[in-house]
Amino acid sequence: MNTLHRVSTILCLCGIVSANAQTNVIEDFESYSVANNGYVDPTLIPDSGWTRTGIGVADWEVHCCSGTLGFPTREDNTLDGSDKFLVLRRSNPGSSPPGGGPPARGDDITEFKFPVLVEGTLRFQLNPANTSADPFRLALYDSGTGKFAMQMVYTESRWFHPDGTKKINSADFRVFDHPGNPIVSEIQPDGEPDAFDRWYDITFTMNRGGTFDLEIVDMGPTAPTSMTSGQPARGVLASVSNQTAGVLGVDTFHLERNSGGGGGEKPTMIDNIEITRVEAITVVGTDVGTGMDVEYPTTASAIYQPQVTDDLVSGVWTALGPLVLDDGSTQSALSATRGAAGRSYRVVVF
């Protein structure tokens, strides 16, 4: 952390210095204006980088202040001792989380956007809640393709291992690659007290060419109190390399729906999201000319395939982009024309 350039703006782009310089994005939540024991929905702050899809009360909010909580039994201090962090404001029915209440689980998709990470690391700290639901569900997305590189779930209890056994209080991380195959599925011994009430450091490394590495490190018990054994940091729990990402980069920290917060006490906390990436350079020799923008009407849930040909006589048509499942809006298919004359277009509807 001390090698990074920490600034007061919420989303920091440290600027282009030179080719291969490091660009850092730090979301440590300290720059939000939050009263003691207060909450702020970060998606309401302009230029914060946070957005959510959903209605009603936000699932995730910035909370203050670590170490001076009005509910000392509810929440833990941040690992680094700083005041603020992101907290999941969901709970089981019947419990009384501060300002929470139904729904019992998250019903938004909450996202943090950052400059695309083609080569570099995304790292954050996590303290999951103790719950029979999943207190933490994350995907790292590429908004350009709409595909995820990796999904991660932390589950306290009641998940089924690939061997068919039902895990009770296993308190474990599971990680899935882009095709959805589990690449990490059991990294903690079963039994209680186990993995809740502990801080984890999670490092995702995007490799050039569409693979990723991942490391999950147990950094130690929460403070001021921990319901676990209180063991000191347990070190590296999982480390995988060169996993299939299915995308060339990621630009979205995507918190999924359906995370729960147990009884509302000691909810899931996230802090210090850091992105360190190889900076891009601007390509010299870029030319801007005239391409084609093919507009076509659509109807809800029909499937469309724009196509292009340079030779109508041949009857050979080539797909112009992927299939489009649409909702009734006007769509555009964009076509480069460089070096092509007499290009023709059509749109198949399925």
Partner: protein
Amino acid sequence: MPNTSCQRYRAGVAAFLLIAGPWWAFGQTTVVEDFEGFNVTATILDPTTVGGSGWTRDGVGVSDWDVLENVPPINTVDLAFDGTPQYLVQRRSTSVTPKFSDENTDFAIPTIVEGSVSLEMNPAFVAGDAGDSFRMSLHDSGSGSNAMTIVFTQLDWPVGSSGDFRVLDQTNAVLAEGIIPNDPDTDNPTARDRWFRILVTLHGNGTYDVNVFDIGPVKDSAGVPRPYHDPARGEVLTLTGASLPVASVDTFRLTPGSTNGFGLQPTLIDNIIARDYFEFIEIDRIKPGAQISFPTQAGKIYQPQFSDDGSTWSNVGGLVPGDGTTQSVVASTTGAPEGREYRVLEF
């Protein structure tokens, strides 16, 4: 009852399926089976018992698939995706015998060499017993062979609650697997309680594609979304350019071996559309766009961008892998102010 049409005209009577035969030879036939033409007087109706329906089955005993009219007091199943009252429903359950579908249930479609078959499907959640909640093939009655089989499995493949699609070839080898996470936790929002659109495209050159789209969550008979109500998640399976083992297909076939959990929320099928040609829509207009061309190097990755103020940059499309050639992307200029700037970043 299917609607059969020639080119873009859709007729609305079942009898047309029979008299339209000569048109099929011209390769311009659309068959739409939305199940709304069946007269379901007793809640459910075996479509194979209706003359001219195009539906047949090759087993005995109770039918596996029936048309259901989802009106009160039926309230244990989901609404059709399009809100219409009738659809096809699987009548098998782990709580009754036989637990699994035990016959081929066929629907006649035009002989397709080049064209497409699509349908909407809401798979059952098989919680009590392992099983596939949906199994279909496109079949060639002439050779007696299936072109491919498409399977949805909720449990026990390859792990519990994978909730995913597979495409199998004629030897049952897996050609493609969906990308719904193989998440073993049944509490998680995987594929249950959702509608999918399955599209099979036959290219006329001996190859075919299969694409499966998640089109959104189910709603119960009161119109309330079920718990896992993410909006449409988009494409969840892609198979491109698979070798077609038959010359053509002429049958939509629901194959044996499918089931559902406890009889509630069974697998639903609606809006089967089969065409023996490609249908095109009229393009509104073709207008100029900004074509951004840039030299690339193999191993580098590129991101084209635009800006209207010279300081805030937005991406034009996704990342582009370099290959040593000059590559081009096009940005729409609709609504763009004068002086829009473009650049390409290299990583």
